[in-house]
Symmetry: C2
């Protein structure tokens, strides 16, 4: 085997398959600082250009998953479960699906990310709850999972550290766009997270990173295969992300909407996707054998208030002020608020998810550069969905902005994102495709 | 235009053409330290994978050529000329062709490199002459060119500094093997060197970096095109590098052989290639309109001793001890000397140039790692060429080694490189192809 990153880059770019030992060496040597960033960046670009076989992707993922601690959840007596979404605009599914699954008997231990590009991040949203901490040690993660049945925290540095370094380098060097690298990054963290049952939500559409169904399907299949090879029970759901999910994009606005859904109200699409993901989590965890029964149980946990109770318990266990969940915008105030729309009557023909994501970012909800902190109160409220009628004088959206300047920018983004027409659009399905959970063959 | 190296890497890897402004920005920002090594390495790998159009290669080359000083040779009243070789084993053509061209009326100002991989470097060879300096300032380069008519020095840091940084990064990151990057690296230095007439020697065969004639031809055409776009008169000669050129590979041994050729003796192949390159330099410089007349003048300059006189003048101008040229191995002593061959009688079927290069390296002639200095006395003398008969008891080669251990390694390399058989090999032409000098259309 070759222990020279330059030779491995040259071989990779010529389309050669690297061995398990070589891939383990790359991950180990980079994590240990024996391969410098420049040589690693060239190798990553060679992977972006030439791709990787399924075998190579598995060995890379396995090496990354074992580059640090792998959580041991064997002391938890309930079936353990985890989910992941490839991200979107208004995607608060984690905030609803995980307490639902926990309320139905699963133990959910999930590590989440921050906003990336035009998409929001669950950690940014959760941190809009006053006092809530997301930086938990591996011991606290497992302890809270055991006691509360639910923990949602930031990615721990102790888990899959190779991914942390590689991800930052990819972001800085334009080597993000590779199916093998995306899949290994996601799945190495899921494997290190330790849960038995994993459900992957792969978003597809203008507001997702995958715009094309073929591409999303290929990524979903690859990730499912990787998880199964690691001995986990894994399924995937492809969901539509052409218009934002629900009626809120931002931080506090999204928590507010998730809580409304957990109370039995809120937008139908958020409820549908969240209960679907939760139901597959229950099937994957072995708590139900049939999807329909799992879905009914999930709905029941919302209607009975059991799911909200678990969510509140999680917030309190992580130091959050649960009473804030009763207050509009969790008690935050947006300095500048303005309505969008009302000049034109007709039907909402298009609400472009990516455009709304940019509007929320412009309003101040996200980070524009590394280290920025988003404004918890900033975001966009959508009062209409695609296909809804609007009358003259009725606003379509409300912008909550961090400043007057940001308000103007956000309204301009909405001008580009939303269009009103005379004819209703042709809606596509919300759940595009499903790979039912299964283990390795 | 995009001023984000990550976006440019992504676009390049998808096969998009970058604009002149974008390529100028990349070169300028990297040279200024605004793009870090990791992001640049990823960009270089994207170029290796996706290639570059002729337009892109030209804009890259032009930006690199103008990243520092461009020598102004307008004060020199003779036509200025420069040559370049893509390198080989035993390639001492510069040491013969440049004094010949200078003796015939051209002013030759050439910057050379050090050994790379299995190949030797002109600078390492020249430095085997006691006292000779190769690190000359731009002012001294031009001054000596004017006074002596010949200067051969190390690449100046003031010229094409972007290439210096990019070359080191490519070497460290496995991003060497790209026609566009090789051509722009070579031609940016030739353009910055300021000469009007340029002849490129592109080696092809086992001892060259190009093993395939098609590939060598494509590189030659690309470099000729780049030089012509810069307003220079440029030609190229493809030469065979399957067996070493001449009978010496190393440092002092090669200078010794070059001096023998300048005295009218020495191996026929060294004389043929060197006089051919010198003759094309004379045609490119406008000193002769016909190749045959130029070749006759070149031969005459050797036979009259005029070329050797210019070489000696150059050695003295650069502080070298010209009397060393009279002494075997320039007065150096190899600690260990041994013969190779003699056990078998027959015909020399193969002397693999790359293998002999490795043997010279093993003997101590080159650097194994950055910063090493080669041993001036180390190298290989070949007493036979392919097709020559050998009798039992007659050695085929002599190894001059820096130590007993290195002697053993070098002899083992020769075991792999040289084969004796009963039938003579089919020799190919020494001059494989020629692109006669010309300017831009």
């Amino acid at each position: 085997m070759t222990r020279d990153i330059r030779r491995l880059s040259e071989r990779k770019r010529r389309g050669e398959e690297l061995s398990a030992e070589e891939l383990r060496w790359v991950v180990g040597a980079y994590t240990a600082g024996e391969i410098d960033d420049a040589a690693m960046a060239a190798w990553l670009m060679a992977v972006c250009c030439a791709g990787m076989t399924g075998e190579e992707t598995w060995h890379l993922t396995d090496a990354m998953a074992h580059s640090g601690q792998v959580l041991d959840l064997s002391g938890i007596d309930r079936p353990t479960a985890d989910k992941h979404s490839t991200g979107g605009v208004g995607d608060k599914v984690t905030l609803v699906a995980t307490p639902v699954a926990a309320a139905c008997g699963a133990c959910v231990l999930k590590m989440s990310g921050r906003g990336l590009g035009h998409t929001g991040g669950t950690i940014d949203k959760l941190e809009a709850i006053p006092g809530l901490r997301t930086d938990l040690s591996p011991e606290r993660l497992v302890g809270q999972a055991r006691e509360v049945g639910l923990v949602v925290a930031a990615q721990s540095r102790e888990l899959a550290p190779a991914d942390g370094r590689m991800y930052a380098l990819r972001d800085a060097t334009g080597t993000v766009d590779s199916r093998a690298l995306i899949a290994s990054s996601i799945m190495s963290k899921k494997i290190a997270g330790g849960a038995e049952a994993i459900v992957l939500e792969v978003t597809v559409g203008s507001g997702a990173f995958m715009r094309d169904v073929e591409e999303a399907r290929a990524l979903a299949r690859l990730m499912v295969e990787l998880g199964r090879r690691a001995g986990r029970t894994v399924g995937a759901v492809l969901t539509d992300m052409n218009q934002p999910l629900g009626g809120a994009a931002g931080n506090a606005v999204e928590v507010e909407e998730a809580v409304t859904v957990l109370r039995g109200g809120g937008p139908a699409d958020v409820r549908e996707v969240s209960l679907t993901i939760a139901a597959w989590l229950l099937v994957a965890a072995g708590l139900h054998s049939k999807f329909d029964a799992a879905l009914a149980a999930a709905a029941e946990s919302v209607d009975s208030g059991a799911a909200l109770e678990v969510f509140v318990a999680m917030v309190e266990a992580q130091g959050g002020d649960a009473s804030s969940l009763e207050r509009p915008l969790l008690g935050h105030q947006a300095p500048e608020v303005a309505e969008w729309g009302g000049e034109e009557a007709g039907v909402v023909a298009r609400i472009d998810a990516r455009g709304v994501g940019y509007a929320a970012l412009a309003a101040g909800a996200g980070r524009r550069r590394k280290g920025d902190r988003g404004d918890p109160a900033a975001g966009v409220r959508l009062l209409r969905k695609e296909g809804d009628e609007v009358r003259r004088g009725e606003p379509v959206a409300i912008v909550l902005a961090a400043s007057q300047e940001r308000l103007g920018e956000a309204l301009a983004e909405l001008d580009a994102a939303i269009s009103i027409s005379e004819r209703p659009p042709m809606p596509g399905p919300l759940i595009v495709e499903t790979i039912p959970p299964g283990g390795s063959e």
